[in-house]
């Protein structure tokens, strides 16, 4: 038997298996989940005493929450063939803003510092709501430029990337704004909840809540269907009566707001608002969406896949730390994973098409 006939036979068997397996096992997330489980198993048997320890799991979960939340935002814009490069430095800016508002007050933020009288520091929830609203507005700003002025999303969000990191450093003059220990706000990013005997970081619970909401929107509502339709064929969506501009602006607002949420959570987690945080986070988030099976050409990708993508990255970087892999080498490995993920996805797509 020669190679090509063997291959043909293999493909036929594969197709046979595919048609026999129930629908949910044919979902594109299945191989990604398998990779995730294999990785978990590998690191667990390499470091059985450490890997499953609650403290270590909490580290992984916080990692997954940070990049998972950003990646869900990226998913929204990438589904509509967009991209949001601003979220990394937006986490820095929003972290600095929320810290300034709580520790100093609204009057400490330029340009308001010269025009406003001295104000007292803001309450925790007021500051959080204000910063979330601000970051959503930044997203709407991106959406308006993309839809009304036809600026490529790459460029307009790159502009914000520069502006936000500059503004974060300007507001703090480069110094972190440190919360005193015991400050109630710190509970948000540092606290944990007991769930069935496991302690789950608040950040991870927030990720699950956000994921549930976004998955609901994408799968069950007309808005979600229109997001996918725009990624599939924007002109078809437009002539079918989809309010294309509004839907795209929503996606950028969502991404902006999730960037703000991560900024707030990181400020709480680190106990300070610092302009040094968030460098290149947007690229990690985009990598997570791609590893999770999202097509950069739009119209394909799920929340579950994106979280699995973030989880693969989280488990890998944690496992490599446990195995004492040099942190420089860790980046190399993650880069290789990204390339494999994209190549595999393209190969699968061409075979299917």
């Amino acid at each position: 038997m020669n190679v090509s006939s063997a291959l043909t036979k293999y493909r036929a068997t594969l197709r046979e298996l595919q048609t026999r397996t129930p629908g949910f096992l044919r979902a594109r997330e299945v191989p990604i989940a398998l990779v995730f489980l294999v990785l978990c198993f590998y690191f667990w048997q390499e470091k059985p005493n450490i890997f499953l320890r609650p403290a270590n799991l909490a580290v992984i979960m916080r990692f997954v929450a940070t990049y998972g939340l950003l990646a869900i935002g990226e998913l929204l814009v990438i589904l509509t063939r967009g991209i949001d490069l601003s979220v990394g430095s937006m986490t820095a800016l929003t972290g600095v803003l929320v810290a300034t508002l709580m520790m100093k007050g609204f009057d400490a933020i330029p340009p308001f510092n010269n025009v406003l009288p001295d104000l007292s520091p803001m309450g925790m929830w007021a500051a959080i709501v204000l910063v979330l609203a601000f970051s959503a507005l930044v997203g709407i700003w991106h959406g308006l430029f993309v839809t009304k002025f036809h600026i490529p999303p790459f460029i307009i969000t790159l502009g914000t990337w520069l502006m936000a990191s500059g503004a974060a450093a300007y507001i703090t003059r480069g110094y972190p704004i440190v919360f005193p220990s015991g400050f109630a706000f710190l509970e948000l990013g540092q606290g944990e909840q007991e769930v069935l005997g496991y302690s789950i970081p608040n950040m991870f619970i927030i990720l699950l809540l956000v994921a549930a909401v976004v998955a609901f929107i994408l799968n069950m509502t007309t808005l979600g269907r229109h997001i996918y339709a725009i990624g599939g064929d924007i002109e078809a969506a437009r002539v079918s009566g989809v309010k294309v501009d509004r839907v795209r602006i929503f996606c950028y607002a969502g991404s902006g707001m999730l960037g703000g949420l991560v900024g707030i959570l990181l400020a709480s987690r680190l106990g300070q608002g610092t302009p040094a945080v968030g460098t290149a986070y947007e690229l990690w988030a985009i990598a997570a969406t791609v590893i999770g099976g999202t097509s950069l050409f739009g119209g394909e990708g799920t929340v579950l896949g994106v979280i699995l993508g973030a989880a693969i990255m989280g488990v890998m970087s944690n496992g490599m730390v446990l195995l004492n892999v040099s942190s420089y080498l860790q980046q190399v490995v993650l880069g290789v994973v990204l390339v494999i993920a994209v190549t595999w996805d393209m190969w699968r797509r061409r075979r299917a098409g």
């Binding site: 808005l223 269907r225 339709a229 064929d233 969506a237 002539v239």
Partner: protein
């Protein structure tokens, strides 16, 4: 037919794109139950005129009356609400969505809504899509198939099915037969006759004059953004073809007087 109120009346439609004057004041009337052929060379303005009617383009000037009432069509939704559906030349389907999702795109059946959050009734949409596909005898195994997986003929059928799914009064078809096999073409032509029998009006854009001849009651010829002929389809196919081609290339023009006047007006 002339004593009836036209279902569509477009008056003096003008539209430009940058420096290009695509439509220079075109009139078009369409009567209930009529199949109107719309022909012209490339860039004559056929598709532009129809995109104005379907709400994809806003005209610079001109008025549209639907059943004698002035209509303000500013987007595809307005047009659909007035019972006008367009089947686009490139089908305007989202390949990553399934057949049912495409049929209901932009008018999903909603189970409940709360502001911008409107939860779809997927099962109802799938059932109705299945019925539609069966009624039009479209050969598709499942309405859950992604459009990417369909053949050209199947896609055209889905596009036409989508246009007829919602009680359309007027169906515009932009080159529905251009990309199809001979067998598929005769199916599309049968479908047009069927729509006419059900009381729909159809505007058919086509380069294939034999298709126009086969199903149309009347034909309008555009040339360089102007109407040059508006006449019933008559005679045998050879005379018809010769006549229409003469209009298309500019050898004949029934409205030349009028267009000179417009030119003079424009100075």
């Amino acid at each position: 037919m002339a004593e009836q109120t036209p279902i569509v009346e477009m008056q003096n439609i003008k539209k430009h794109f940058g420096a290009v004057q695509a439509l220079r004041g075109v009139d078009l009337t369409l009567y209930p139950g009529e199949v109107l052929g719309l022909v012209g060379d490339n860039a004559a303005g056929k598709s532009t005129l129809m995109k104005v009617l379907s709400g994809a383009y806003l005209p610079d000037e001109g008025q549209i009356f639907i059943k004698g009432k002035k209509a303000h069509i500013t987007n595809p939704e307005d047009s659909r609400r007035l019972g006008i559906e367009m089947v686009y030349q490139d089908f305007a389907l989202a390949g990553n969505l399934d057949v049912a999702a495409n049929i209901f795109l932009g008018r999903e059946i909603v189970r409940w809504g709360l502001g911008p959050i409107r939860v779809m009734n997927k099962r109802a949409m799938e059932e109705q899509s299945r019925n539609l596909v069966d009624r039009l005898k479209i050969d598709i195994s499942s309405v859950r198939l992604k459009v990417d997986r369909l053949s050209g003929g199947q896609r055209q059928a889905v596009a036409i099915g989508r246009a007829t799914a919602f009680d359309a009064k007027v169906i515009i078809m932009d080159e529905p037969t251009a990309a199809l096999s001979v067998a598929a073409i005769s199916k599309v032509l049968d479908l047009i006759r069927e729509l006419k029998a059900q009381g729909c009006s159809v505007i058919l854009i086509s380069h294939r004059l034999e298709d126009i001849y086969a199903v149309s009651d009347r034909v309008i010829v555009l040339r360089q953004g102007r109407k040059v002929a508006d006449r019933p389809v008559s005679g045998n196919i050879h005379e018809f073809r010769e006549n229409i081609v003469a209009y298309m290339v500019g050898a004949k023009n029934d409205f030349s007087q009028e267009s000179e006047e417009t030119l003079a007006e424009r100075g």
